[in-house]
Symmetry: C2
Subunit: 421 residues, 2 copies
């Protein structure tokens, strides 16, 4: 697959609104779901992300989403080529997520490898969670679904559950994906901590940024976490589980866009999700009227606590009911009439420490590196933005350097409140 | 490559003493090195290992070693099939070791993939290090060569040094090897801690073994180390660096047999080597006359100290001179006029902790699992053997559970002396 690095594969052609019906109308699965005459399909390009073409296609029967990879980074342009094969890994990931955490990822209807094209479930009336968080809307079950999704994919994609031949074959398959992990490796773990070319940040942050970059202990720890990320195949991770990769209604939560999926650390997705909730929390004073602020921020903190606790609870449940891989086998514990709870709790504490360190790094990169969060970015008053971003950066620093002080969810939430004040 | 799992590939035929000259006489590189009429070559089968055919072939010009994988585990028989492709990984490993730690692995002259056959340098007058340790012979530079070999292969096979595309392609290549890591995973990390079918141990150890297997904390930590081993691609490791994989004269040290090579933890080889030195140390009272015992044991401890210190020193040297990968880039440290020594020392402490935990596990498996060490196994007096093995098992337990108490080499050596007394 490395052969695709240069861009287009044979016969690849980017979809267009005008030609989509003609190109996909002959695909039985797609035609049946959309219904009616393909020439009459309503096709809208809605890709507002950084990397791909995304269309919503509606016909007499229903709607589907068509997502096609472009051979370059959309937000930067053709000067930054990106291999089309990432769509293959997105497809592999969607299929595995459907099995490991049913009902959360969109259902896949059709996959065309050469066209780097996936036709999948149209989530409706779901909207991107980040928009809801900026608007101050609550989502029932948010922490629960995200926490359980992280626990289920972490556990069931690891050798706690999978057979070793199956898991190792999968690691081999995903090792063909080099370009996508390389983006995470530099953008997330390294670029925030020096003046990388594509970085940008709010001008008023200059002093705070200089202090962060002067903290050698912080940078050493961030790089230690990069080593854990880049040389770790514990489980298949989503790899980009921020609030733009979650769609929600008032009471339904779905996780989309696993094109950054790879085998990686069990705690990575959890840490990234929590980081994005924390950034929503810190940015609220710019988005809420004072009378609504406190209650909504309290709700976000509840979501974080719920997410962390559900992760642990679900991981414990799977530990006791689905531990069928080579790791921590029952032969060493239950079969010798010994409990394995201590082993599970010790592992969970390590996962929590890792999650919080990844969380802190994500809080930094979204303010200092290339791809920022709308939560902060849409705050036009840069002085206010910098003030809120500073709280976020400082809490992130504390989490990277000293995660084990915040193993209890209430300690983590108290830390967020302290920085907010 | 998984297709080879069942055993033989097309055209594979095991070599025999009588036919070896006819089969390899036509291979230019081999014929030139051996010299003379292949029909007159002196061919001796010397494989005393667990897995392969090994021949020494001598002619008018010189000698070579011919190593061929068998499609089953030699020490067990055809009932335990083992894929021939392990010879491919041994070849890949030898080539990479030659580049990363020149002059230590045997030079490769010829590789035949279909025959799972490698023709390589005949090491002479080298003998297996374990025999020398049992005989009480010293080897100048032993700790230095092993420590530096571990540091060089660890560093230069990681993303501290390699480019990410090169390293990740290599991880993909090695992910085809499932059967060999599976042996290590069960035999080393799990079997010692329950009554696995192929286990055996000295009868007088019953009580000690029951106590070990009753230590849930120990087992949890051993499994945590298994998770670190099985889901870790930090660097290409030798994978089986015991004193039977080292050949030596009085002043030359070479490392052979990397057929258990895989991408794994940077500290694994170091830990396994130190474990084997410690087992040589504990077994000495059965092999030495009392008047020679103390001095020889003191020498072994010196070797261990030298090995650990040389690992650190060489790792530090490479850190400062060859840090060209994505990890801990100079952009974050030196280019910002900040030292990176603290980051290096922190990483080295973590590597030391991991090495000592792997060391303790190796000390257990060699006494409790399938493949034992001659150091203990050749002690005919089982009461004495059990007494010495008990010291070894208890020190191993302490190292697995509490490695960071022995980060200083002198603390580790003091611990060995304390258990010996």
């Amino acid at each position: 697959m490395q052969g695709d690095q240069s861009g287009k594969s044979d016969g690849y052609e980017a979809l267009e609104v005008a030609t989509l019906g003609a190109r996909l109308g002959g695909v039985g699965d797609v035609a049946r779901r959309v219904g009616g005459d393909p020439a009459q399909w309503d096709v809208r390009e809605v890709g507002d992300g950084n990397l791909n073409l995304v269309f919503i296609v509606t016909g007499e029967t229903g709607s589907v989403v068509v997502k096609q990879a472009l051979p370059y980074v959309r937000m930067v342009g053709e000067s930054w080529p990106l291999p089309l094969y990432r769509a293959h890994f997105e497809y592999y990931a969607l299929v595995r997520q459907a099995k490991r955490a049913p009902g959360v990822a969109p259902e896949v209807y059709y996959f065309d490898k050469a066209q780097a094209l996936i036709v999948m479930e149209y989530l409706h009336p779901h909207v991107i969670l980040r928009r809801k968080l900026i608007k101050g809307e609550r989502v029932e079950g948010l922490g629960k679904v995200v926490g359980e999704f992280c626990a289920r994919t972490a556990f069931r994609g690891s050798e706690l559950s999978l057979s070793s031949p199956e898991k190792k074959a999968d690691v081999g398959l995903f090792s063909g994906n080099v370009a996508i992990p390389a983006i995470t490796e530099s953008l997330v773990f390294t670029d925030p901590y020096y003046g990388a070319e594509m970085n940008h940040h709010t001008p008023e942050l200059a002093e705070t940024v200089a202090a962060l970059r002067g903290n050698a202990l912080l940078k050493a720890k961030a790089q230690r976490m990069l080593l854990k990320f880049t040389a770790n195949t514990e489980t298949m991770i989503h790899g980009d589980l921020h609030s733009g990769s979650i769609m929600a209604t008032d009471d339904s939560v779905r996780v989309i866009d696993p094109e950054f999926s790879q085998y990686g650390p069990m705690a990575f997705d959890l840490g990234m999700a929590v980081a994005n909730f924390l950034m929503a929390y810190f940015s609220q004073p710019a988005h809420r009227a004072p009378e609504a602020l406190e209650a909504y921020q309290a709700w976000i903190l509840e979501v974080i606590g719920e997410c962390l606790n559900r992760f642990d609870d679900e991981f414990r449940r799977l530990w006791h009911t689905e531990r069928s891989g080579i790791l921590y086998p029952r032969a060493l514990f239950e079969d010798q009439n010994q409990e394995s709870d201590t082993a599970c709790e010790t592992l969970l504490l390590e996962l929590r420490d890792d999650a919080l360190a990844y969380c802190g790094i994500e809080m930094h990169r979204r303010v200092l590196s290339l791809a920022h969060n709308a939560d902060f970015e849409e705050i036009e008053d840069t002085a206010l933005r910098a003030k809120l971003e500073t709280r976020n950066l400082k809490m992130g620093e504390e989490l990277v350097v000293n995660p084990s002080a915040y193993r209890k969810a209430h300690a983590l939430l108290a830390l967020a409140r302290a920085y907010h004040r």
